[in-house]
């Protein structure tokens, strides 16, 4: 049996309702996993001796605006013994109530989820290290979201010096 089918079979055996959808694009297998089944599926993928997805490469989020559910979180798994990659994709309706953390399955999960929370604003249940990582602590918003403007610094010339200066956030006397 091909590895792609084996993964699907194994997951279906353990949790029949976990896989919502799947696709194959450019030879990459993607499984859409139901959000509340993610943890169970991940544990199975890591521990099953025929699968052994022991390496979590990456966690990243997509903002699919204007679609609903708006957010999708990708888990890129790799099996070092079997040399196989797999992508789990979880659709998240409410970014405040995101998927369960995978930090206790692969230790690096906590660290990767911190980045997703900081830049995309998808939270992870059970990860209590979520804090501003790249951005200053008092930053508002999550810059990788599609409704967050790219932003720029207005150039100060002599004719608009006062105008631009009034908007600058620094202590004035």
């Amino acid at each position: 049996m091909k590895r792609e089918q084996l993964v699907v079979e194994k997951i279906k055996q353990a949790t029949p309702d976990a896989i919502e959808d799947s696709n194959d694009f450019r030879g990459e297998q993607t499984l859409f996993i139901k959000m509340n089944r993610l943890k169970k599926v991940c544990t199975l993928l890591r521990d099953d001796p025929t699968l052994q997805y022991n390496f979590l490469s990456d966690v990243t989020a997509d903002d699919l605006l204007p679609e609903f559910p708006r957010f999708a979180v990708n888990y890129h798994l790799y099996s070092i013994p079997h040399k196989h990659r797999l992508r789990l994709r979880v659709l998240v309706e409410d970014p405040e109530k995101g998927p369960q953390t995978v930090g206790d399955i692969w230790k690096v999960g906590t660290w990767l989820e911190m980045e997703v929370w900081d830049l995309m604003g998808v939270s992870f249940k059970g990860n209590n290290h979520l804090r501003r990582l790249f951005l200053p602590e008092d930053w508002q918003g999550h810059p990788l979201r599609k409704d967050y403007p790219l932003g720029y610094e207005e150039v100060q010339f002599s004719f608009n010096w006062q105008e631009v200066d009034a908007k600058k956030p620094y202590a004035k006397d």
Binding site: N54, F55, D58, R131, P136, L150
Partner: protein
């Protein structure tokens, strides 16, 4: 430490600082232990990395990395550029091996487009990425040795790196920010002098490696500073997501060039250096032995460098050569369309990873049918490798932490992105 609100600036108290930065660490004994901020302006953190240390005398009880001082929003910026223009952002991630970043990005774009480059372009890409690996390892060795007070190694390594940067300048016109690999091939073919220059490098470099080995390999000071320091077991290394030579120093045999070959790496004969000790010295040995393997690959690649075009013939992706613009209306149209609008990539998402000098450099791209990527994400090896630093650094002396940071080989440009 200062924080800027919308209109006020106030200084944080120590308690607030602990609460904000220290959420990743628990203060174990607040009365006796000292909280020390190492960096961001510290020569041994290889950039603007700040480490918050909880110290019991000279011993580290706990540590938490604080990053983001170099954050420039690369991923966000790339969403507003075409696939070709976004390429220049990738040079600036890992500024010690821009070729590897270019490679990781263009391979992902090519995967999304479903094209494969010509054999000549593939071989040139292999040669240049292996040269980039050598130059990056040279900077690693130089700074790692400098951190541990071996000053002369630094000078020798930078001398040889200069030669490689000259080769990069010869092919790309730039020493560091090369942007040489383009979706569909290369910026242009390598000049005639390229092959003799690289062959000359192959001739003189082995003696230089012997020099570095003579300076460090059996040096008692070096051995004392690196042996049994910063140990991480194979299981921990995998779970913490370590990749590259840092992972192979713990005895895990995983090199993407071997496991999932790209650019025809399966047609080259080379070994993957493995060490089993999992300490700073083992990671040092792994990288030193990689010099030899890279040289082997470059030699084989030069020997079989095929002739032919370096770009694919699809004019919807690669602009026409300058010579055609004078007499072909179609070429002018393609040129105009490519440089004003860019090419459109299909809807879908791909993840492609390459073995950069630091480990797995992954690139996730989601296309939505427009000329701009809808989402680009980089899985940068330095960022993920940093996660295991608290694991390796607990219980060691502050001076040993310097050795550990050097052995993981981080580049802050790619951590903060």
């Amino acid at each position: 430490m200062l924080t800027s609100g919308s209109d006020t600036i106030k200084e944080l108290t120590v308690e607030e600082l602990r609460a904000k930065v220290g959420t990743g660490m628990t203060i174990e004994d607040a009365e006796e232990h000292m909280l020390l901020s190492m960096g961001p302006q510290h020569p041994s953190t290889h950039g603007v990395l700040r480490l918050l240390l909880e110290l019991d005398g000279e011993n580290i009880v706990n540590l938490a990395p604080d990053i983001g001082f170099l954050h420039t929003g690369v991923e966000k910026t790339m969403e507003s550029k075409t696939y070709t223009k976004a390429l220049v952002m990738t040079d600036r991630l890992d500024y010690l091996s821009p070729m590897s970043n270019n490679l990781g990005y263009v391979l992902a774009v090519e995967k999304l487009l479903g094209v494969e480059v010509t054999p000549r372009a593939q071989v040139i890409r292999v040669i240049l990425s292996e040269l980039a690996r050598i130059s990056s390892h040279l900077v690693w060795l130089a700074t790692h040795a400098l951190d541990l007070a071996a000053m002369s190694v630094f000078l020798y390594c930078f001398r040889e790196r200069e030669y490689i940067l000259d080769v990069f300048e010869m092919v790309a016109g730039q020493r560091m920010m090369v942007s040489y690999f383009r979706p569909g091939g290369l910026w242009r073919d390598v000049p005639e002098e390229f092959e003799p220059a690289v062959r000359q490098f192959l001739d003189f470099f082995p003696a230089k490696i012997a020099d570095y080995e003579a300076l460090l390999k059996n040096n008692p000071i070096w051995l004392q500073r690196t042996k049994d320091v910063g140990y991480i077991s194979a299981d921990d290394a995998v779970s913490w997501g370590l990749t590259g030579p840092s992972l192979r120093g713990s005895g895990v045999d995983w090199d993407i060039r071997k496991a999932q070959p790209y650019l025809g790496y399966d047609k080259y004969e080379f070994d993957v250096p493995l060490e089993t000790d999992g300490d700073v010295y083992a990671r040092y040995r792994c990288r030193m032995r990689e010099f030899w393997e890279s040289l082997r690959i470059i030699r084989q690649a030069l020997d079989k460098l095929p002739s032919g075009p370096v770009n694919i013939s699809d004019r919807k992706i690669v602009p026409p050569p300058r010579s055609e613009l004078g007499h072909s209306m179609e070429a002018v149209i393609h040129h105009f369309k490519l440089w004003t609008e860019g090419f459109k990539a299909p809807t879908g998402y791909v993840y492609n990873s390459v073995e950069s000098p630091r480990g797995e450099f992954g690139c996730y791209i989601r296309g939505d049918g427009s000329p701009n990527p809808a989402r680009v994400h980089f899985r940068t090896p330095s960022y993920v490798n940093l996660a295991s630093l608290p694991q390796m650094g607990k219980g060691v002396f502050v001076a040993d932490l310097v050795a550990i940071i050097g052995s993981v080989d981080i580049v802050l440009g790619e951590i903060d992105r």
